[in-house]
């Protein structure tokens, strides 16, 4: 086991190295650079910006250095935990990301909980009562969830939330609570806002998980060991919980490690529509403006999270599944 983990960690190093180069390329790929975006900002503030100014600024941010030098400078800082400085926001990247990470985590957790709490029981029930009315309803709803573009769902829910429940549009707090210190009613206010993004973000994942759970469980239910356990005289409910479900849950575990990075970036569109203070829009914004340090460090962080998450998932899977452990 230890050996396995060690080998995987070692394999991660070249993978991450390649990813970092790829990330760097992604940011350099579109024409233009952060200076041009920075200039837009200066111009808005009424500062004269001429071609000479641009060239001077490019020099200041070392943008005229060869690409490999720029890459080395960036990755060197990253390895030392210095994510760099966002030209666009005028803040350190660490600061920017941390500030938004809290809400992102909150949202991600809520959405994931929502997805799992619904997907799990419904998926199990769907499998146990295959082709029952509830199975059909769940199937159709799950497919609907998979089929609806998230921004549409967000828009419509946002409107319905406003029109039916009077939930103010956009953001996570009503104006009167936004600046207030934390207390009970602020929490309630947050929850009132939170459900729409949680439902939107959770829906697609939920639908997918529901289908996976159903399919896995159906698969497992047909396995001979279920017959064996049944023939032992085990009560069917306990049997389902102890045996097939225990195995059908493995695919869930194998995706746990990806949840965070996926939701952080995947939630971007929903967050933009709903104007949420999460990391997604920040990432998109920085990409649009080619804010090298912000976008690059952000992307590399997410990718690293994914790779590490995959490893964690695999380790977790090995812990719960002896077949993998003893391979």
């Amino acid at each position: 086991m230890l050996n396995y983990i060690l080998r995987r960690v070692l394999l991660m190093i070249p993978t991450l190295a390649v990813i970092s180069v790829l990330v760097f390329t992604i940011i350099q790929l579109p024409p233009g650079d952060i200076i041009t975006s920075r200039l837009l900002l200066l111009q808005q503030q009424g500062v004269d910006v001429s071609q000479e100014a641009i060239e001077a600024m490019r020099a200041r941010y070392n943008l005229d250095d060869p690409l490999y030098l720029q890459y080395l400078r960036w990755i060197g800082g990253f390895l030392q935990g210095d994510l760099g400085y966002s030209v666009q926001f005028g803040q350190s990247v660490n600061h920017l990301i941390w500030e938004r990470l809290g809400y992102t985590l909150l949202l991600t957790t809520t959405a994931t909980l929502f997805a799992w709490l619904v997907a799990f029981p419904v998926g199990v029930f769907s499998a146990l009562r295959q082709y029952s009315l509830l199975d059909y309803v769940a199937t159709v709803l799950a497919f609907l969830g998979l089929a609806t573009p998230s921004f549409l769902l967000a828009l419509v829910l946002m409107y319905l939330g406003y029109a039916w429940f009077g939930i103010p549009i956009g953001g996570l707090f009503s104006p009167e609570f936004a600046a207030a210190p934390w207390n009970g009613s602020k929490l309630i206010d947050l929850l009132k806002h939170l459900w729409i993004p949680a439902v939107v973000l959770g829906t697609a994942g939920m639908a997918g998980l529901m289908r996976v759970m159903r399919a896995n469980l159906l698969d497992e239910l047909g396995k001979p060991y279920v017959q064996t356990a049944l023939a032992k005289g085990l009560h069917p409910t306990r049997l389902v919980i102890k045996y097939p479900m225990r195995i059908a849950i493995n695919p869930f575990i194998s995706t746990v490690g990806w949840l965070l990075p996926h939701l952080i970036s995947g939630a971007a569109i929903t967050s933009i529509v709903l104007s949420l203070p999460t990391t997604g829009p920040l990432l998109l914004e920085s990409l649009r403006n080619q804010d090298m340090y912000l976008a690059g460090s952000f992307l590399l962080m997410l990718s690293t999270l994914t790779v590490v998450g995959t490893l964690l998932s695999d380790i977790l899977l090995a812990v719960v599944d002896p077949r993998i452990r003893y391979e």
Binding site: I19, L144, A147, P149, T310
Partner: protein, 375 residues
């Protein structure tokens, strides 16, 4: 549990027979999946619309109506305001209410103007499949009639017509994209799984790397890199390639797994011993053995492409007007104002949902049908 093992095929019966009967069996099983059959019919209708959109659409895709900007959907009637029934369907006229300086574009039905609907009639000219010019339409009304079944957009263009034209792009982008995805996925996955060793390691790492990078940034970078002067058709293919670039990893993994387990099976070993070329083994022996699985995955991958196209358009990095696609149409609907003031602009979204739903259900039915151990 009736030991319902499929009939054992005699070795000399030849693979063709097994193949054919496998497809037949699949079809028989698929037919019993009622929901999937309905979804299949929905897809056929959608594709029919996409193929014949010029004829079915009563108006031109780019045709503007300056006095009907953001006009709500108009009802085709058989019963008039007086309660009398007419055999020929008709429309009432529409006019703006109030003063332009009220800034509220509101329309009211004007029952004093009647536009009968004609079938197989002449309308705006178009070029059918780029082959010949004609002006026949399935139905239409006199010039200036508010024949807007789904309302109009912010330039006064008929949404029904545009959705039909849009389906041509949106529904094919999925097919073309999936074809590409599968080409890459099967090739790389197959090579990795079949040859194993360092090839496998490289492909595996590649997959891991691509999967590790969040999708949106990759999309953004790639689409920003599309040259500005590309004509719409090139952009269309560019976007398709971008979408496929993300999609192949999942399939490659599946194919790799299949090949890994199958390359040591007797019939493959036999072929190899007989000196058959490796590639030939892959394509004549391995691939057909799980083609049904591949096709099912393909069906299930199309929706991802359709949704991907709308997401790209949402971010403003996908197809752009004058190309008409569902994603492009939805771009106009992605704000609060559309939801409140012109909800019909969300209709393309309904079509996206329908198409994706149908593909998913058909794919699901195919999966059930393709599984020989299905109940």
């Amino acid at each position: 549990m009736t030991q319902a093992t499929p009939p054992r095929v005699e070795p000399d019966a030849g693979p063709d027979l097994a193949f054919a009967s496998q497809w037949r069996l699949m079809w028989l099983r698929f037919r019993r999946h009622r929901l999937a059959m309905v979804a299949g019919v929905v897809l056929l209708v959608l594709y029919f619309g996409a193929v014949f959109c010029e004829i079915i659409a009563p108006l031109g895709a780019g045709q503007r109506h300056r006095s009907y900007v953001l006009c709500p959907p108009q009802e085709v009637r058989l019963v008039d305001a007086a309660g009398d029934f007419h055999f020929r369907p008709f429309l009432y006229g529409v006019k703006q209410r109030g003063n332009p300086s009220d800034w509220l574009r509101e329309y009211v039905v004007d029952t004093s103007v009647v536009y009968p609907i004609h079938f197989f009639t002449r309308g705006p000219e178009y070029e059918m499949w780029g082959l010949f010019a004609t002006n026949w339409h399935l139905f239409g009304a006199d010039e200036g009639a508010p024949l807007f079944l789904f309302g109009t957009d912010e330039l006064g263009r008929d949404l029904f017509t545009r959705i039909l034209y849009g389906s041509r792009i949106s529904l094919t982008i999925g097919l073309v994209g999936v074809a590409l995805t599968f080409f890459i996925g099967i090739l790389l996955g197959g090579v990795a799984g079949y040859f194993g060793g360092w090839i496998d390691i490289i492909v595996q790492r590649g997959i891991e790397i691509i999967m590790a990078i969040p999708q949106l940034p990759l999309w953004m970078a790639l689409s920003a890199a599309l040259p500005a002067h590309w004509p719409p058709l090139h952009v269309y293919f560019g976007i398709t390639i971008i979408l496929s670039f993300m999609g192949w990893t999942g399939l490659a993994r599946v194919v790799r797994g299949k090949f890994l387990t199958m390359r040591d099976e007797d019939f493959v070993v036999a072929a190899r011993l007989a000196g058959t070329h490796e590639l030939k083994i892959i394509f004549t022996h391995l691939l057909p053995s799980f083609l049904s699985h591949v096709i099912t995955s393909a069906t299930l991958a199309v929706p991802g492409m359709i949704l991907g196209e709308t997401a790209l358009s949402f971010l403003g990095i996908g197809l752009q007007d004058p190309v008409v696609s569902w994603g492009v149409l939805l771009q106009k609907a992605q704000n609060f104002q559309a939801v409140v003031m012109a909800p019909w602009l969300l209709l393309p979204g309904l079509f996206v949902v329908f198409a994706v739903l149908a593909f998913n259900i058909v794919g699901d039915g195919m999966r059930d049908a393709a599984d020989p151990y299905a109940n």
